[in-house]
Subunit: 250 residues, 6 copies
Amino acid sequence: MTEITTPATSTYTRADGRGVDQLRTVKITRGFTTNPAGSVLIEYGNTRVMCTASVETGVPRFKKDSGEGWLTAEYSMLPAATHERMPRESMRGKVKGRTHEISRLVGRSLRAAVDLKALGENTIQIDCDVLQADGGTRTASITGAYVALADAISYLKDKGVVPGEPLLPPVAAVSVGVLDGTVILDLPYEEDCRAEVDMNVIMTAAGDFVEIQGTGEHANFNRTQLSTMLDFGEKGCRELIAAQQAALGH
Amino acid sequence: MTEITTPATSTYTRADGRGVDQLRTVKITRGFTTNPAGSVLIEYGNTRVMCTASVETGVPRFKKDSGEGWLTAEYSMLPAATHERMPRESMRGKVKGRTHEISRLVGRSLRAAVDLKALGENTIQIDCDVLQADGGTRTASITGAYVALADAISYLKDKGVVPGEPLLPPVAAVSVGVLDGTVILDLPYEEDCRAEVDMNVIMTAAGDFVEIQGTGEHANFNRTQLSTMLDFGEKGCRELIAAQQAALGH
Amino acid sequence: MTEITTPATSTYTRADGRGVDQLRTVKITRGFTTNPAGSVLIEYGNTRVMCTASVETGVPRFKKDSGEGWLTAEYSMLPAATHERMPRESMRGKVKGRTHEISRLVGRSLRAAVDLKALGENTIQIDCDVLQADGGTRTASITGAYVALADAISYLKDKGVVPGEPLLPPVAAVSVGVLDGTVILDLPYEEDCRAEVDMNVIMTAAGDFVEIQGTGEHANFNRTQLSTMLDFGEKGCRELIAAQQAALGH
Amino acid sequence: MTEITTPATSTYTRADGRGVDQLRTVKITRGFTTNPAGSVLIEYGNTRVMCTASVETGVPRFKKDSGEGWLTAEYSMLPAATHERMPRESMRGKVKGRTHEISRLVGRSLRAAVDLKALGENTIQIDCDVLQADGGTRTASITGAYVALADAISYLKDKGVVPGEPLLPPVAAVSVGVLDGTVILDLPYEEDCRAEVDMNVIMTAAGDFVEIQGTGEHANFNRTQLSTMLDFGEKGCRELIAAQQAALGH
Amino acid sequence: MTEITTPATSTYTRADGRGVDQLRTVKITRGFTTNPAGSVLIEYGNTRVMCTASVETGVPRFKKDSGEGWLTAEYSMLPAATHERMPRESMRGKVKGRTHEISRLVGRSLRAAVDLKALGENTIQIDCDVLQADGGTRTASITGAYVALADAISYLKDKGVVPGEPLLPPVAAVSVGVLDGTVILDLPYEEDCRAEVDMNVIMTAAGDFVEIQGTGEHANFNRTQLSTMLDFGEKGCRELIAAQQAALGH
Amino acid sequence: MTEITTPATSTYTRADGRGVDQLRTVKITRGFTTNPAGSVLIEYGNTRVMCTASVETGVPRFKKDSGEGWLTAEYSMLPAATHERMPRESMRGKVKGRTHEISRLVGRSLRAAVDLKALGENTIQIDCDVLQADGGTRTASITGAYVALADAISYLKDKGVVPGEPLLPPVAAVSVGVLDGTVILDLPYEEDCRAEVDMNVIMTAAGDFVEIQGTGEHANFNRTQLSTMLDFGEKGCRELIAAQQAALGH
C-alpha cells in the first residue's frame, strides 16, 4: 500500500549494524516436534519460540452447537529463556498479567487467520513457548503460530473433518519503536528496554491491520512518528509474510 | 493538532441519536467517597466508575532507594455491573486475563501523568471499580483516575511530603470503533459488541499519544479507517481533558 | 415487644452527639444502578453499601429438582473503602475469613426473608459491596439487601416466573456494643474499634431474632448487659424496618 | 448466676434418652500426642477432636515489639470425620467459609483465656482437628483447646520464658438449640440438622459470656426461647468447666 | 524366598536398643472411628497414623463404563504431628511435593491389593492422616491402609454391591536404611534424619515387590548394601503382614 | 561391577528392533540456548528435553550462613510435548503430583553430583523442560542436567566465585522395565505404557546407586527380575556416562 522509502533517520547506527527498517534474520522450521498437528520453531535473530498447533474434536461450551470451530492460544516463557532466570508461573500458582495479555493477543491475531465456520466444530490450541528471549517474543509467536496453524489445518483436512477451507491468508507481526528519537524496526532486548515508544503491528497479507498496540514507555509519541512506525511495521510484516509463504511452499 | 471535520459518514444514525464523533454525556464527581486521598465518580453515559487514588509512604522493593515514587493501578468490575452478573474474581481465586490487561493499561497511562522523581518515595495506588458497565469502562477509568490522582497529589503536597510538582498535564482516554463500516466515537455496550473494529486512544493535553490499541474484532482495518479513528479519538480526548480541567477548577 | 425506656446510662456522651440508643441517619436509595433486578445504596451515617439482587433461572446442583429456589450472598469491601487501603482479595488470590463469615451471615439472614418454595427454581444472588466503611457494614448490608431483594422479587413476579409470593416481611440488622461500660446502638468505626463488646442483632418485622452474634472483644459481658443490648437492638431494627418499608412505599 | 430449674419441656424425649438440659458424656484425655506442648483429645459423646497447643518464640509482625504474645487457632475436619467423606481442603486449594469462621471463633474464644501481656512475645498456635464428627465440633474444640492451652503455658513457664501468669480461668463452650419447639442442650448431628434454632454459648468460669451466636436455621426465635437457651448454655458450660478443672487436677 | 540370617553388623547399637533387623512395636486398632467403612489406627513405635477407607458408588470419569472400580489415596500430616509444628497445607493454599509424592505411593501400593474388576464400579478413598510422626509414616500408612481397605471391602460385600472378591492378599511396607555404614530396619525420626541411605520396601504376602524406592540421602549405595536392605525389608514386611492378618482375624 | 551378559530373553523382539539391553540413540547438544550458564538439549530417541542450569549468588533461607551452596530442580512438560496435548499447569493454577515428584527426584539426583561445600554460597537452579515426550523423560532430564550443571560450574569457576571444585563425577539415569515378562532397557512410551514393571536407576560413574525406584504397574516383581533390571540399568548408565563425558570433552 504505502511505498517504503528509507527515511532520513536511516543513518542511525544500531548495535547489530542493521538498517533502521531492517528485520533480524528470520528462520522458520516446520516439523520441529512430531506430536502436535503443527509444530514450528521460529527465530527472529536470537529470539526463538516453539509454536505448536494442537487439534481437538469439539468446541468449548460457549461455542457448542454453533457449527463453528474455535482457536485459543497460550504464550509462556521457559524460566531460563531470559538473561535472569524468571520463576516458573506454575510454581507461583498464578499467571502474570503480561502472560495473560500476550496469550490473548496471540489468540485474537490468529483468529483473524482462520474461518471458524469453515473449520467446523473443531478446536485448535496454539501454544507459543519461548525457548530463548531477545525481544519481540510476542510478534515472533504470532508469525510462527500462523505456520503451525497452516500445518494443523492441513492435518485436519487430510483427516476429512473440516467442512470448508478454514485457512485464511497469512497474518504476521513485528515490533517497531522509537529509540533516541529514531523509529526502528524489530527491536532486540537491548533496544527494547531503552526504547521511548514500543509498538506491535499485526497485519494480514492484504495489508490490513489485525491489531496495533503502541505504548509510550518513556515518552509519548505524535502522529508523524506513528505514521513512520506504521510504515516500518507494514514493510516488516510484508517480509515476514513472504517468509511464512516460503516456509509453507506457497 | 489535526482539524476535526465531520466526515461524510456523519449521516450514520446511532441508536442514541449521537453524531458519529460525539461523546456521551460525561460527568465527573470529585470527593465521591471520603477515605482515599482522591475519590472520583466518572460517568460516560451509563458507564459509571469509582476511581480512587490512595497514597502510601514508601515504594515497592524494585524502586527502593531510587529517590522516585511509584504509581500502580487495579481495575475491577463489581459482579452486578454488567447486564448478566459475572462471578466475583476473588471467589474464583483468580483474576481474569482481561482484568490484568486493563489494570496494566490504566497503570501505564496514569504513569504518563505523573513525574515519579518529583513524587519522591511515595506510592499512589489507583483503584477503578466499575459500578455500572455500558461500554468504555477502561477509558472512563483512565479519565476519571487522572482527576483522583490530581486530588491525591494535592493532598500529598498539603502534607509537605513531595519534593517537587509531580502532577503532569491531563491524560484522557476514549474508545473509537468501526461499526457497519462507519467510524464512531465512544461506543456504548450495544455498539461495542457489534463493532468490527475497536480502538482505545489515550492522549495527553499536548495532543500526543500515550497509548493506542486497535483491534479488528470482526474485521481488519485499513490505514484510512485508522486515520479517521485517530481523528475522532483526538477530538474525544480534547473534550474529555476540558471536562477534567473543569472538574479540577483549572 | 419490649418497651424501650432510655436507660440511666443515656447521659453518656458520644463523639457524634447521638443518644446511646439512637441510630445514625439512614438513607435508602432504590434503583442505584440499572442492570441488576434490584439495586440499592444504603447509608448508615458514613457507611455506604451498594446492595444488589441479581436473578437467574435455575438453582445450584444441591437444590436441583427440589421445586425450591435459592438465595446466596457475597459481601466485599472495595479496597479504598477503609481509611487505610486494603489489598484486593482477588489479587491476593484468596478471600479472607472475615469476608467469608460476613457473606455467610448475609445469606442466612436474607434467606429468612424469602419463601424458597414460593420462589420456584430461581436463584437470587445478593451482592453487598462496601463503597465507604465507617462501622456496621455487615448490618447495613443486610438491611439494604432486603430492599434489593424486594425489588428483584417484584421483577420476577412481573415476568411471571415465580409460583407464589416469595417475599416475607422485612429483616433488618444493627450493631450494638458496650463502650466504657455503656451499652450503645449503631457503632461507627471510631466507637467500634474501642468497644469492649460488639454485637449484631438481626430481626424480623415480627420482632423475632433471625440471628444474634455477640463477641467480647476486650471484655466479657454479663446477662444484664446482654439484655440491654437486645433491647437497643430491637429498637434499632424496628426503626430500620420502618425505613425499609418507607423506601418500598409499603 | 441464674437458677437452672428443669423447664416444663423436660418431658421431651431425645433419641439418646438424655434430658433436655443434659450434656453428652464428656471425656478429656491429656497428653494424647507427645510432640506439641499441649495435646488433648476431647470427646462430647461421639464427637472427637484432637486439640493441640504448639508454642513458638516470637510473635507475628502486627504484634512485634508490643511486649505482648499472641494466640491463633485453626480448625479442620479430617476428610473421613463425617458420615459422607468430605473433600480435603488442601486438595481443593481453598479453605471453606465454614472452616474460616470456626477457626476465627476458636481463636477469639481462647484469647479470652490468656493474658497476652503476661505471655510475653511468645505465640501459641491452637489446632483443632476433628477425628470424628457428631455435632458440636466447634464447641468441643474450644473446651478441649483450653486444656491444651493450659498445658502449653505450663510448658512455657517451666522453660522460664513467660514474664507473668498468662493462664486465665477456664473458657468452655456448648451448643443449645430449639428442636420441635423445645430447647435442648448439646445437640448431636442427628438433632443439629433438624433443629429450628442453633446457638453456641461460650462462657468463662466467672459466668460471663465470651461469645454467643444464635442462628435461626429453619425458624426465628423469640426472647423467651433465647432466655431458656442461655440458661441451658450456662448450665452446660458450668459442667464443662468442672470437667476441664478435673482434667487439669485443679 | 531368601533366608534371613542376621548379618555380622547386628552388633550395631541402636538408640532404642533394637536389633538391626528388628521392627518397632506395631499396633493395629480396627474401628478407630465409626463413620468410614474402614478405620484403623496403626502405630509403628511412636508413629501413629489414622488410616480410613471410605466407599462411594461410581467411579471417576476416566474409569466410567469400564466395569472396574477405583482406589485413590491421600496422605497428610496434622500440623502438630511433628516436633516443630508445620503450616497446614490447606492454609498455604497448596500441597507440598512431598505430600503429593506419598499420596501417589500409597495409592499405587494399595491398588496392588485390590482387584478393580472384582470391585465393580465402586470407588474406595484411602485417607492416611498422621497424628504423630516419628519416622516411617508413609510405610505405616500403607500397612494400616490395607487393614482399613479389608474392612471397607467387607462392608461393600455385606451390602451386596461388589460383583467379585476384590480383596487381594496383604501388602505391607517398611523402611530400611544405612546408618553409619550399617543396614538397619524401620528407622525412627532420629535415625532417619541421619541415615546415609533411605529405602522403602513395599511387598505382598507372596514375597514379591510392589514397589521399592531407595535414595542415597548423604551417600550412594552399592549392590551389596542394596541386597542386605532388601533382605531386611522382606523380613520386616513378612512380620507386618502377620500383624495385619492377626488384626483381621485371618 | 557386575558382568553384563546378554540374558536368554534377548531373543525378545522390540518394536524398534533394539536388543533388550540396548539404549536408544542418545544425543547431547551443549549450548542449546545462550542465556543460562548451562544449556543442553538431550535426546533419548524421540524424547527431547531442554536442560538448563542457571546460577544465582546466595542461597535460600534454610542454607543461609552455612557456607554451603544449594541446587534445586524443576521439571515440566510443554503442553504439546505429549501425543494428546496436556493442560498447562500454570493455567490450572496447580502443579500435578507427578511433576512435583519428578522435580524432587531430579534435584536429589543432581545434588549427588555436586559438592555443596565446594560450591560456596551459590545456588544452581536446574530446569528440565520436555519439548517432546516418548518415554524416559525423567531419566533423560537427569542425564542431560548433569552436563548443564558441569557447564554452569565451569562458568562459576571462570568467574572466580566458587571456593573449591564442586563438580563430582557424572550421574546418569535410565529406565528399565518388565514387558511381557521380559526385562528391557530404556522404554519408549509405547513400551512404557504396557510394561508390567517400571524402574528408574540413577547411578554414579563409580557404579553406585544414587536412587532406584521400581514400581509394579500391572504386576509385582521378584528378586530375580529385580537383579536383571539392575544389571541392565548399570549397563545403560555406564553407556550414558560415556556419552556425558564425550559431550564434555573429558
